[in-house]
């Protein structure tokens, strides 16, 4: 009797394992297809010695999921990409790092449309790609209606805030850039029941004293009112310039005084 039971239990366990394997194979296939779209046929190696990706297991708000990519080790990294595999537009952000970028966490707020792997991919100065990933349970982030009445969203569109910490280390300024923008995904219905056309941040360029901190390529996977945290090294006159262009070709430019 006991043996029969064991057999039954093992069979059940077997089925569970097979299901998990299917799911893992599915995630793997999705990643291969997404990675090919973004990076071409290039090999991507394990990146756990270069990157640490922090993502909540389960999102509290799928339209605003805070994630962070920590750059570890000391191999020179030229580009960091964040990919949300199952989102309709998977590339959430691709940061081309400049000389004024200080190796530290990059944090952003993203939308997650369904349960998915999130990948962070680093390109090193020898042109190789390295990736780490994390699974997240969240759904509906891309189609969730915009949080406020569209009128005020549009009124302050393009306004920016640069929140900087005064740390004792003068060579490194921890910074958070906030950009007021609805970042419409094209999947959100509006007050007349129509879908608001996609209108999202295409490019965000940050420089300090004329030296590049980063150029970011964005997409609909960024949350409404995108927030990007990073650290920079003050260069030149220390003045920070932020240039933003959205997919409707609107451009926003703002200067921030040097941190005193």
């Amino acid at each position: 009797m006991r043996r029969l039971l064991m057999v039954a239990l093992l069979m059940i366990a077997g089925v569970t394992c097979a299901m998990a394997e299917d799911e893992i194979a599915e995630r793997e296939a999705r990643w291969r297809s997404v990675a090919t779209d973004i990076f071409g046929e290039r090999a991507i190696e394990d990146g756990s010695a270069l990157l640490k990706l922090k993502v909540p297991e389960q999102a509290m708000n799928a339209a605003l999921v805070p994630i962070s990519v920590e750059l570890i080790g000391d191999r020179p990294i030229t580009t960091v990409s964040v990919v949300i595999d199952n989102n309709p537009m998977p590339l959430a952000g691709r940061f081309k790092l400049g000389p004024a970028f200080v190796r530290d966490d990059i944090k952003m707020r993203v939308r997650v449309n369904e349960y998915t792997l999130i990948h962070a991919v680093a390109e090193t100065d020898d042109g190789k790609l390295y990736a780490v990933s994390h699974y997240i349970k969240a759904a509906g982030g891309c189609s969730a209606p915009d949080a406020r009445a569209s009128a005020d969203v549009l009124a302050r569109m393009g306004k920016m805030q640069l929140r900087r910490e005064r740390s004792s280390d003068l060579a490194q300024v921890p910074t958070r850039l906030l950009i007021s923008h609805p970042n419409y995904s094209g999947m959100q219905q509006n007050a007349s029941g129509d879908y608001t056309p996609a209108r999202y941040l295409e490019r965000v360029s940050v420089s300090v004293g004329g030296a590049k901190v980063f150029d970011m390529e964005g997409g609909i996977s960024l949350s409404e009112d995108p927030s990007i945290a990073f650290s920079y090294a003050p260069k030149g006159n220390g003045e920070v310039e932020v240039k933003v262009q959205d997919s409707s070709a609107a451009q926003f430019l703002q200067h921030f005084d040097a941190l005193k």
Partner: protein, 321 residues
């Protein structure tokens, strides 16, 4: 009798029983429950009946019956104030009405846009009532109705969620409207952005009882989806009004207004002040979500499921104030 063998047997029985519960009988249970039963009502004042919602989130087993629902019987007609969270929930409420009166159901009031309050509306369509809502509700339903229905269908199953019913009688802000049930007047007030941007409350003039909708949560952690500062203003106005008793959107069927308002004011004040301080200090939103307003934790059910979301909602807005 061999005790060991007996143990094995009962263990097997238990195991098989356990397995069966997981798979096969789910359908049977669902089918048995498919026929709606009259909702359990409490008559909180003459002619005012309230169904207390469950302190749970929507699941396939509870038909999203998580909000407080009610109806008021006048001399000539009945008004429903929130028709329920699903077709099934609305049908249960309708059965409860018909067990008490055959008067026509003249009005179905939708207190705001959230699914647990409105998806029962389709269960009343055959009664051809006037569906009443806040002036902002049609736009809110246009933007969110399909999103909510799709989300709820994933939980309850296709066909369990009613169609989105759009109100035809609208109440404008600052223009309270009166409904007449025959010798019984109801005053409807459309509020400024608070819990949502479509909050409508109903005052029964005869009893002085206010159906506050989700402007009041009692016991259950409130969910913020409108305007934190606006909600505090609406709470202050309710505190200073002459209304003594209210039916909250979640919690006991009838509560003292002063107590309900005081608890919410305390939580929202802590939430607002700690969120502002976190923004000023540069505390990241993800850390804020798990560390703010924790002094309130022991006061509210489902706190861990909602407080973090409320912090995120407050944070994203207050950083642009």
């Amino acid at each position: 009798m061999d005790l060991a063998a007996d143990n094995t047997l009962s263990r097997r029985a238990a195991l098989l029983g356990g397995l069966c519960l997981c798979c096969v009988p789910t359908r049977l249970r669902a089918e048995a429950a498919d026929a709606p039963q009259p909702a359990a009502m409490i008559e909180v004042a003459p002619g005012i009946h309230v169904r207390q919602g469950l302190t749970e989130d929507a699941t396939a087993g509870n038909f999203d019956a998580i909000a407080n629902l009610g109806f008021i019987i006048g001399r000539d007609a009945v008004a429903v104030i929130d028709p329920g969270g699903s077709l099934h929930d609305g049908r249960s409420l309708r059965l409860a009405i018909r067990a008490r009166t055959q008067l026509p159901i003249r009005y179905v009031v939708l207190s705001h846009v959230h699914p647990d309050h409105i998806f029962g509306a389709a269960a009343f369509k055959a009664d051809a009532p006037t569906f009443v809502g806040h002036a902002e509700l049609p736009q809110q339903l246009a933007a969110r109705g399909v999103f909510y229905r799709d989300g709820l269908e994933k939980i309850l199953g296709a066909g369990e969620v009613g169609d989105v019913v759009v109100p035809t009688m609208l109440v404008a802000k600052d223009k309270p409207t009166e409904l007449d049930l025959g010798g019984r007047g109801l005053v409807l007030t459309a509020h400024r952005p608070a819990h949502t941007v479509s909050d409508l409350s109903v005052l029964d003039k005869q009893s002085g009882i206010l159906f506050a909708g989700d402007l009041l949560f009692v016991g259950r952690t409130p969910s913020l989806d409108g305007d934190l500062k606006g909600w505090l203003k609406e709470l202050a106005a309710m505190r200073d009004s002459s209304v003594r008793q209210a039916v909250p959107g979640h919690g006991p069927p009838l509560v003292r207004m002063q107590d309900a308002v005081a608890s919410l004011e305390r939580y929202f004040t802590v939430l607002r002040d700690e969120t502002r301080a976190a923004i000023a200090k540069g505390t990241p939103i993800e850390d804020a979500a798990t560390t703010l307003a924790l002094s309130e934790r022991s006061h509210w059910a489902m706190f861990d499921a909602y407080n973090g979301r409320n912090v995120i909602e407050a944070y994203r807005r207050l950083e642009w104030e």
